[in-house]
């Protein structure tokens, strides 16, 4: 006779199944992994070897931004849309009807997002090193920075993705509602364009949102220390970045808890 399974075992099993489903949904997998690479190649070609400052070229600047926005794409956009569709199809309701602890469901989602983001970041870094003259940071400090920026980013994005999934009225509407939010942030947070070259009011708005700080944190890891002089306040502002990202984790956690619904609107 079996006994009641542990939360850890169930969380890991959920994560494994989410990964299996992701790999089998080939279209989605190819889209998610190729999207940032296409942007890298495209914008890299358009803005070519333009040097921004301190020997940093635009493609190198873009690479750091794409790593940051890849986290938001996976955790916030893809996850938010996927959960909205799961809710619409009754998948969530079905899970709610089983003894599966909600924490195992959410934990599985977070681990799945971590897995996808890690693969995506690895692909981008490999591209940067191979084609765009990015050199990997040496020493422990930059990698520690990378680790906390990455983890805060993934956690916050995932929680916000869970929260935003309740916003669209149906699974079909999810993409139309969630995608523009991410696009807006990508254009105004120093991903596709150099942050300091944007109009001031756009910069100000972007500073309230996580992507700007994620991108800036990633630049501190992959761009030379000197380049900090070219940032808005002549610093990578890692402390401020950590505070803003942590604040969004808290906001995301509260929003996810308050707004999450297992069932479609009106189904209660």
């Amino acid at each position: 006779m079996n006994t009641r399974p542990s939360l850890v075992a169930l969380t890991l099993e959920r994560a494994r199944l989410e990964n299996v489903e992701f790999v089998r949904s080939r279209d989605q997998m190819i889209f998610i992994f190729s999207f940032p690479i296409i942007f890298m190649v495209l914008f890299g070609a358009i803005f070519g070897g333009q040097e921004l400052a301190f020997g940093v070229t635009f493609p190198q600047y873009l690479l750091a931004g794409l790593i940051a926005s890849g986290i938001l794409n996976t955790g916030f956009q893809s996850l938010g849309i996927a959960i909205a569709i799961d809710r619409d199809n009754g998948v969530l309701k079905r899970l709610r009807g089983t003894p599966l602890p909600p924490a195992a469901y959410f934990g599985g989602k977070v681990l799945h997002v971590l897995f996808v983001s890690a693969v995506q970041v690895a692909l981008l870094i490999a591209m940067g090193v191979a084609f765009y003259g990015v050199s990997l940071p040496t020493g422990l400090d930059p990698w520690l920075t990378f680790a906390w920026v990455f983890l805060l980013g993934v956690t916050g994005s995932t929680l916000l993705g869970i929260a935003v999934s309740s916003l669209p009225s149906s699974g079909r509407a999810a993409s139309a509602i969630i995608t523009p939010m991410v696009l807006y942030l990508q254009f105004t947070s120093g991903v596709f364009f150099v942050f300091t070259q944007l109009p001031g009011f756009l910069q100000t708005v972007a500073e309230f949102f996580p992507l700007k700080w994620l991108a800036q944190g990633m630049r501190s890891v992959f761009l030379p220390e000197d380049f900090a002089q070219a940032e808005a306040r002549m610093s990578y502002e890692l402390t401020t970045g950590a505070l803003v990202l942590a604040a969004w984790v808290v906001v995301g956690f509260i929003l996810a808890l308050v707004t999450f619904r297992w069932q479609k609107r009106g189904d209660s």
Partner: protein, 283 residues
């Protein structure tokens, strides 16, 4: 045997609409209990209240000794649920899905046995997404029973099935009952309730209009119908004494009575009478 489910004066309103309007139910352990009624009668609303998916407006509900609105994981471990009109369209295979579900329960059934019981052994390694609607529905039943539930809810499980698939499905439901589970079934198919249920409650406009065994319900309308034809056209006579009536009819006719037919009311006639009556009373 005790009762698996007890419901008293259950009310569920949506604004002005009384979806469930003072329903009482007692469902005995080990029975197949059918909630029968037309679309919109409040069957699914009732079942989803029993499953803990919907909150009731008022009334008393006890499912396996607990209030579904407050029950937790231990209660869910004793339940198997097949929701209305959903299908498992996952990229996981049948075996992966059933195995995962088995892991959620403390005393699950053998995975391969369950897959075999629902007739999906040949599809065990197929992705649910690639299967037919009927096969997906059977997978849902497998997912609902693999945890060895004491109580199984089946909400319109055979809607949209081919007749032969429905027959096979009914046998499956019977076998689940034989394993000791209580089954609550909602359906708008009379033959389904007739074939499967130990007891049937007929629901119309949110309230119970009758509750009996299928045979008892059939016996309710005591009148038989005699139909025949003569020179003036077709006739129909409802009577509690069809034999006596037929005798006089035969005496009046020389030779064959054209189109003579004597029929006992079917469950359908009783059902239509009961659900009709209700509509008239309310209007």
């Amino acid at each position: 045997m005790g009762n698996a489910i007890e419901v008293a004066e259950l009310v569920k309103t949506y604004g002005e609409l009384h979806a469930v309007n003072g329903l009482d139910l007692e469902i005995e352990e080990g029975h197949i209990f059918a909630l029968l009624g037309p679309n919109g009668a409040g069957k699914s609303t009732t079942v989803e209240i029993l499953e803990g998916f919907r909150k009731r407006t008022s009334g008393h509900v006890s499912v396996l000794g607990a209030d579904p609105e407050k029950a937790g994981r231990a209660w869910r471990e004793k339940l198997g649920i097949v929701l209305q009109s959903t299908a498992v369209s996952s990229l996981l295979t049948v075996r992966e899905s059933v195995t995962h579900m088995a892991h959620l329960y403390p005393h699950p059934r053998e995975v391969d046995e369950v897959i075999d019981a629902v007739g999906l052994t040949e599809k065990a390694d197929a992705k649910a997404m690639s299967m037919s609607g009927g096969q997906q529905r059977r997978l849902e039943v497998a997912l609902a029973v693999v945890g060895r539930p004491e109580l199984v809810f089946l909400d319109e499980p055979t809607t949209g099935f081919d007749p032969d698939v429905r027959r096979a499905f009914w046998k499956l439901i019977r076998s689940i009952k034989d394993d000791g589970s209580t089954i609550v079934l909602t359906t708008h198919y009379l033959d389904e309730a007739d074939y499967l249920a130990d007891k049937v409650a007929i629901i119309a406009q949110g309230a119970k209009v009758a509750e009996d065994t299928p045979a008892g319900l059939r016996g309710r309308a005591g009148e038989a119908v005699v139909r025949w034809r003569d020179a003036s056209g077709a006739h129909e006579k409802r009577t509690t004494t069809p034999t006596a009536f037929a005798r006089t009819l035969l005496a009046k006719h020389k030779g064959e009575v054209p189109d003579l037919e004597i029929s006992r009311p079917s469950l359908e006639d009783v059902y239509l009478d009961l659900t009709d009556l209700r509509t008239e009373e309310d209007s």
